[in-house]
């Protein structure tokens, strides 16, 4: 059975929190290595923005595994560290532009928290280029595609993220 992030607690092996991010199949000579990027997208702007990129049939890399959150303010910094620990090569957070948050100020609070997080991840030894935050509105499908493309290229150039030594 493939485990997903929604694995119920009872079926988890004891002593482990959550499950690993599944990597695309590796080791096939014909395919080059592809990074896994976990994206936390706010429902009201960026998720809709990604959707509009799809509706407009824009082509962009498919490396971002999207987690829909109600607001960028919902992103607990632990989610980000956990994603890296479970094998993400990059983490992208995307929300409404400052001033446009559906809950008025969620992204302003998030911004302070994520700024601190950014510096801290580097302090812990994670390359800051692997962690990005962007503001993408519902109508900015173009910007979304651009963000994904540039982040993928950057993380691809950096190579696989160093392992954080998880047992899982």
């Amino acid at each position: 059975m493939a485990e997903s992030a929604a694995t119920p607690a009872e079926s988890r092996p004891p002593g482990t929190a959550g499950t690993a991010v599944e990597k695309p199949p590796a080791g096939e000579e014909t395919r080059e290595w592809e990074p896994v990027i976990v994206g936390f997208l706010c429902n009201w702007c960026s998720y809709a923005g990604a959707d509009s990129a799809g509706t407009a049939r824009m082509v962009h890399p498919t490396n971002v595994r999207i987690v829909r959150v109600p607001c960028s303010g919902r992103v607990n910094p632990r989610f980000v560290l956990r994603a890296f620990q479970r094998g993400a090569d990059g983490v992208l957070i995307s929300g409404c532009h400052p001033g446009d948050c559906h809950y008025s100020t969620g992204n302003f609070y998030a911004r302070r928290r994520l700024l601190l997080l950014k510096g801290y991840l580097e302090y812990l030894g994670i390359d800051p280029r692997r962690f990005r935050t962007h503001w993408v509105s519902a109508s900015e499908g173009q910007k979304w595609a651009e963000v994904v493309r540039s982040m993928c290229e950057e993380v691809k150039a950096l190579g696989p993220a160093p392992s954080l030594g998880n047992l899982v």
């Binding site: 607690a9 988890r12 004891p14 002593g15 482990t16 929190a17 959550g18 910094p77 632990r78 560290l81 956990r82 620990q85 400052p98 001033g99 100020t105 302003f108 609070y109 911004r111 302070r112 928290r113 994520l114 700024l115 601190l116 997080l117 950014k118 510096g119 801290y120 580097e122 302090y123 812990l124 030894g125 994670i126 390359d127 800051p128 280029r129 962690f131 990005r132 935050t133 962007h134 503001w135 160093p162 954080l164 030594g165 998880n166 047992l167 899982v168």
Partner: protein, 315 residues
């Protein structure tokens, strides 16, 4: 070093005054219990709750009265009896942290304040020879390296919360906090630093003493103890250790009073302030909060400015 801690020459008188005040509060029924220190093992004071005037006679105040007491208030949340507590400068910051986090009602407190010019680190003093220790504790002079780290940067000698002061307030010289250990770590290259921190996590035995002593770690239910959601796996893998230290430091970011109690009580002597200080330093640099360790009505992560640095520019 921005501060020159010294030992108060009148500590014996202060101790007598403390016992007298605590006995008065208890016998007149103004407080039901008084939180202070009593003589512990090896002469190091340990936290003590006196509940009668006679017990107040066991209270001590000396150069090793380092342990903060405010956290013990959380054991007394139930009921409506009044609690007395003794604090020096940094002890009052710990108390203020609990008050500003609205975890204990101010009305139920009677705070006895003692202006403080420096306290010794019990572990450093314990390492001295018997004669040395006696000399240091009697009449000095005291090597500055024997003081608690927090005394070297303290600019809050006088309690910020108090109902009674046992001696005259001391002159205050304000200075900007400095974070030399963080600067050193920041100067290392990334892999080297990651390796160094891995070594730190590996030695941690997850006794939770650092969390338990911390005045800013004061939630009713701690996420580190929760099973569902399981924020912290029980395995002591490097990743879970990293997550533990991340949660412990990040969740007090913006509320840490830089008391260094976590580091002082660590069972295996880990330099935990290297993790806390990074946030304090960044909060000043990013949000312009000059003295982030002083409890404020609104904490730096509980507010924002529309003109805060933008994340998109930060990559």
């Amino acid at each position: 070093m921005p501060n020159n801690p010294t030992l108060d020459k009148n500590m014996t008188e202060t101790e007598t005054a403390l016992r007298r005040e605590a006995a008065r509060l208890l016998s007149q029924g103004e407080v039901a219990v008084f939180l202070g220190h009593e003589e512990g093992w090896d002469g190091v004071p340990v936290p003590f709750a006196a509940s009668t005037a006679a017990e107040a006679g066991r209270l001590v105040w000396n150069p090793l009265s380092a342990p903060h007491l405010a956290k013990y208030l959380l054991d007394r949340l139930e009921g409506d009896e009044k609690v007395g507590i003794v604090v020096n400068g940094c002890g009052s910051l710990a108390l203020d942290r609990i008050l500003k986090d609205r975890r204990f009602p101010r009305e139920r407190l009677h705070v006895v304040g003692i202006p403080c010019s420096g306290m010794l680190d019990p572990a450093r003093v314990a390492a001295l020879s018997d004669e040395e220790r006696e000399r240091v504790l009697k009449d000095g002079p005291v090597d500055p390296g024997l003081f608690l780290d927090r005394c070297s940067w303290c600019d809050v000698p006088n309690p910020v919360v108090s109902d009674t002061l046992l001696s005259e307030p001391l002159p205050v010289v304000r200075h900007r906090p400095e974070y030399p250990r963080v600067a050193e770590l920041e100067a290392m290259d990334r892999e080297e630093r990651a390796e160094y921190l891995r070594g730190l996590y590996e030695r941690c035995i997850r006794c939770f003493a650092c969390r338990n002593v911390c005045p800013a770690c004061n939630c009713r239910e701690c996420c580190l103890d929760q099973w569902e959601p399981l924020w912290l796996g029980r395995a002591t893998s490097p990743a879970e250790q990293q997550m533990f230290h991340f949660i412990r430091a990040f969740d007090v970011a913006g509320r840490c009073i830089r008391c260094g109690e976590c580091e002082r009580v660590c069972s295996v002597g880990l330099p935990l302030m290297e993790l806390n200080d990074k946030f304090l330093k960044d909060i000043t640099e990013l949000f312009g909060v000059e003295r982030p360790h002083i409890p404020a009505d609104v904490e730096p992560l509980g507010c924002f400015e529309p003109g805060d640095p933008d994340l998109e520019d930060h990559g």
